[in-house]
Symmetry: C2
Subunit: 573 residues, 2 copies
């Protein structure tokens, strides 16, 4: 016998639909309903709320899609081979973001396992999976999740995810999972039929906000915290990346993020593992990272978009949209030395002051990238940096990223300058929704017509063309880019000074007019010439070359760099 | 010549209307417009935004109402007699909340001055004025303010307010001013015609939220902070009471409340004065009070509704609305020992957990009351506690309030058990708005029909009957209640142990079934018998009587209290 439970505090009657039968469930304290029934792994079931049959809000599997019956899953029945595995701490982490559906031609967890050796050899420490929660349709980015506890069936469902994590661990790789707690997708979201999961107190760009502080919010918070803890406990993940926490509105005295982080940490610790909580945050607010004793939420790290934008604007020269706030070498220097470029400064793009200094927080608290799913995918045509700038400039970006004092994140295929774009793709069955998404996307990019025509997110080809072509990685010019990434990551892990995460120890010198920048990491220095002509750059001490891209020659304490060259220098012996 | 300035970042043209002329204003950086013109104190002016003549958002005076032209006011021209005055710190403060329009028959600042001696003799240290900002109509509570910098003309305008504050200081009384930064009133609010003062990102019970974190919010924040600082600088007020800060939504890294408090403190300090910032907060969140170094906003104090509700529910036996969360002596004991009764506990009324422990914060950080404008006025018929319970029970409430470790606040007339109710009254000229308010009020109290018919807020009589009848205060039974309040306040200021604000030193013993409660303040003890029969209560040591209401007799370490009696006991000599 197995106990089925569901929270439906305002329902008049709740039944369990199992096989051909419906059984009345018993109302319990706090709006919960329960019933015992004979059921086994894989059995289909649903809850019937006042006569309407609906999938379980906490469904562990939706093999037939998000509208169909849920399936019983016995997480305890799985065999794991990862006893004793502990992921690298963030101080030594290099993340690799991948989207299961486009990472391989097959688009499954099992196919992705075949590429783990590549990742290990590349030098990354963690895979970061874009959301794997079930969403409507056959493919999509995953941020439209509606069955938050059910790994997406086309990827391989719960067993596929478990096999993937176990294989990552066997390869010495940790797994960070992208989870979305700020909204639910537009199709297949039945939560509101069960309980007040949503509130109209706040507005998100994607509709009603999740109810984290209004009446009945305790159980909504529990739903989210249990989800977070479940990934750690049942799927052995080593960390969570929380999507857009600035759209998680919570005015209560203990913010959801503080509660969630505390519980995730505690759950991992109780299991003898480590699990980190990383936020995507648009707030530049160090409160997320500070300890609860200092009034913070205690998260382990946050994404730092300022770093990306400062780098992207310098490398590409683009100044549209939010890039209008960036573009100078001074901004890039601030990103290296202070993490936040906007730490209380006036932002032209936001038309207000933004952020607060991250004083005292070290580089292991900030995940930085040159490319990620958002920055690539949220362009009209999903171009990667290698499609926007010369290979030489892309290499400068890689060097600054991977030799930074922060936690670098690579985006799938970045390491070999993959030619596949990463476009925004959806597969909504509902024609109304499909039209809304298509038109919304067009409207969004109306102001950026120079980026070219906007591909239709609903066109299957938009998805298919975003899949990586792994055959490239062995061919030039991709193979040499791959060597560059490997060399940089090897250097990062070999040189103790590159392991120093104290931002106060990071110093950047630059000449805005001459177009060069030197990143000092202890006695090492990464010198970049962003100009289109050769530059002679002083480095303050006698040097020798450790690694270079392009023309680089050392003369005493000076380095001569060709146009768009970058060199890593150590003190002369 | 005088400079006129206004912020109108999206206006195509702005003119100054002064006397019979309109002069073009010059566009400056940041959306400001300015012009110099010859003008003197009292001159009427307006700004013309794209052809529409509107009062100044920062108007210092609106003698002809909130829709009419603004007036020039030279704050520097006033004579003050309060040099060197510094208000009592909150540790020693007793606040007295008054509504200028009903405190005296005349309803003016000048008439209120005539009652300051009464307040001083009563033993209060600060007057707390309900909002004096200009609002539409001839009378009202003041929370519908629209000209936030202009003291309400019917009360006496800016000069009247200045005379009142100066007179308070001459009587040794500080002045705390109630200010409303969470919304603006429904009539005469022209701010949106000037700039994006409002946002639809958040929902308040009173309409659009003020824009504290969206585009253009820097100047909106400046508007509010300048307003707060202006009361201190131009009107010498000694503190601000911020209305409903839980409806001040600000997701930015530095919360408006932190910025405002820092600036108010700094402005007062620069002037050699002291100004406190007190929040009305429904959050039970100690972050408001903690120091910025500990991740807090650094406010001086907050209202503690939990104290009121715990006391009210015990004294009256009422359990409707939010009182359903209170009613036990255990709750009242928690209020005394921990300030927040709900510090993470589940609240039935809110249908969620609420609050967070206020660990380490002392009693001077919490303003408590037995009655205040909200708790009296937000009943259908505006009854005071003395209309709801026997005089004996009201005296118990007064003793617990005034001998508590917190900052007590009295509501006008409470000290003599005034018979005037304090009802919700408005004077909206717009018939639509008048109807909406009338019907809204009726709807609000539909569930509380037992409170009696809901008076019409628009009926002049609803306002008039809320005015205090001062002749009562010298007559019995009012005179003896007044003596009781005076005696309690005298005791509070005389006994050093009652000045101890450390909540850890406060201990409450009670017997829920027998209905008695003993509040220990050092070696002193306040013992209340809330039962309808005599009780014999142990006090742990030989005692003598300091003060009592009702039948009270000491026998060794025991006190015998008649029904609804209260006694203050000291150790036997």
């Amino acid at each position: 016998m197995m106990e089925f439970r569901v929270w439906a505090p305002r329902a008049g009657s709740v039944e369990l639909a199992l096989a051909g039968e419906r059984r009345a469930m018993t109302s319990e304290d706090g709006g919960w309903w329960s019933v015992e029934a004979a059921a086994a792994d894989g059995d289909a079931y649903a809850f019937v709320i006042d006569g309407d049959e609906l999938p379980d809000p906490r469904s562990p599997a939706q093999p037939d899609g998000v509208h169909a019956r849920s399936r019983v899953v016995d997480h305890g029945a799985r065999t794991w081979t990862d006893a004793g595995f502990v992921a690298e701490p963030l101080e030594r982490a290099v993340l690799y973001e991948l989207h299961v559906g486009t990472f391989t031609p097959e688009g499954t967890f099992d196919a992705a396992i075949g590429r783990l050796r590549h990742l290990r050899e590349l030098g990354v420490t963690h895979v970061e999976l874009m959301p794997v929660n079930a969403f409507d349709g056959t493919h999509g980015w995953g941020y439209d999740g509606v069955a938050l506890f059910a790994p997406f069936a086309p990827y391989g469902g719960p067993d596929g995810l478990a096999r993937f994590v176990d294989a990552c661990h066997a390869h010495g790789l940790g797994v960070v999972l992208d989870v979305v707690y700020n909204h639910l997708g537009p199709s297949g979201n039945y939560l509101g039929r069960f309980a007040p999961y949503f509130t109209d107190r706040y507005r998100t760009p994607w509709g009603d906000a999740v109810n984290f502080d209004d009446a009945y919010s305790d159980e909504v918070r529990r739903f989210v915290v249990d989800n977070a803890v479940g990934w750690v406990r049942d799927f052995h993940v080593d960390g969570l990346r929380l999507d857009a926490v600035h759209a998680i509105f919570d005015g209560s005295a203990t913010h959801l993020l503080e509660e969630l982080t505390r519980e995730v940490h505690a759950a991992a610790e109780a299991l003898g593992r480590r699990a980190v909580v990383i936020a995507e945050s648009d707030l530049n607010d160090p409160r997320l990272l500070r300890a609860p004793a200092a009034g913070g939420y205690g998260l382990d790290a946050q994404w730092s978009d300022d770093f990306h934008h400062a780098m992207h604007a310098v490398l590409t020269g683009e100044r549209h949209g939010y890039y209008e706030d960036f573009g100078s070498l001074a901004d890039l220097a601030r990103a290296f030395e202070h993490a936040y470029v906007y730490d209380g400064r006036y932002s032209r793009h936001r038309k207000r002051r933004h952020g607060r200094p991250a004083t005292g927080l070290d580089g292991s608290r900030f995940v930085v990238s040159l490319q990620n799913h958002d920055q690539v995918g949220n362009r009209a045509r999903g171009e990667r940096i290698a499609q926007l700038v010369s290979p030489e400039r892309a290499r400068i970006g890689a060097a600054l990223l991977l030799l930074s004092p922060f936690v670098p994140l690579l985006f799938q295929g970045e390491e070999w300058a993959a030619t596949a774009p990463f476009r925004y793709f959806t597969a909504h069955a509902d024609p109304e929704l499909a039209r809304a998404v298509r038109e919304g996307r067009r409207r969004e990019f109306a102001a950026f017509a120079w980026q070219g025509p906007v591909p239709d997110p609903q066109d299957l080809q938009t998805f298919v063309c975003s899949k990586l072509d792994w055959s490239e990685s062995g061919r030039e010019p991709h193979a040499s880019m791959l060597r560059w990434y490997r060399d940089l990551l090897a250097l990062r892990s070999r040189e103790p000074e590159l392991g120093d995460r104290t931002l106060l120890h990071t110093r950047v010198r630059f000449d805005e007019d001459a177009g060069w920048l030197a990143l000092h990491r202890g006695t090492l220095v990464v010198v970049c010439n962003l100009a289109d002509v050769e530059r002679r750059i002083g480095t303050g001490a006698e040097r020798r070359l450790l690694l270079a891209s392009g023309v680089a020659r050392v003369e005493g304490e000076q380095v001569i760099l060709g146009a768009n060259a970058v060199a890593v220098l150590a003190p002369a012996r």
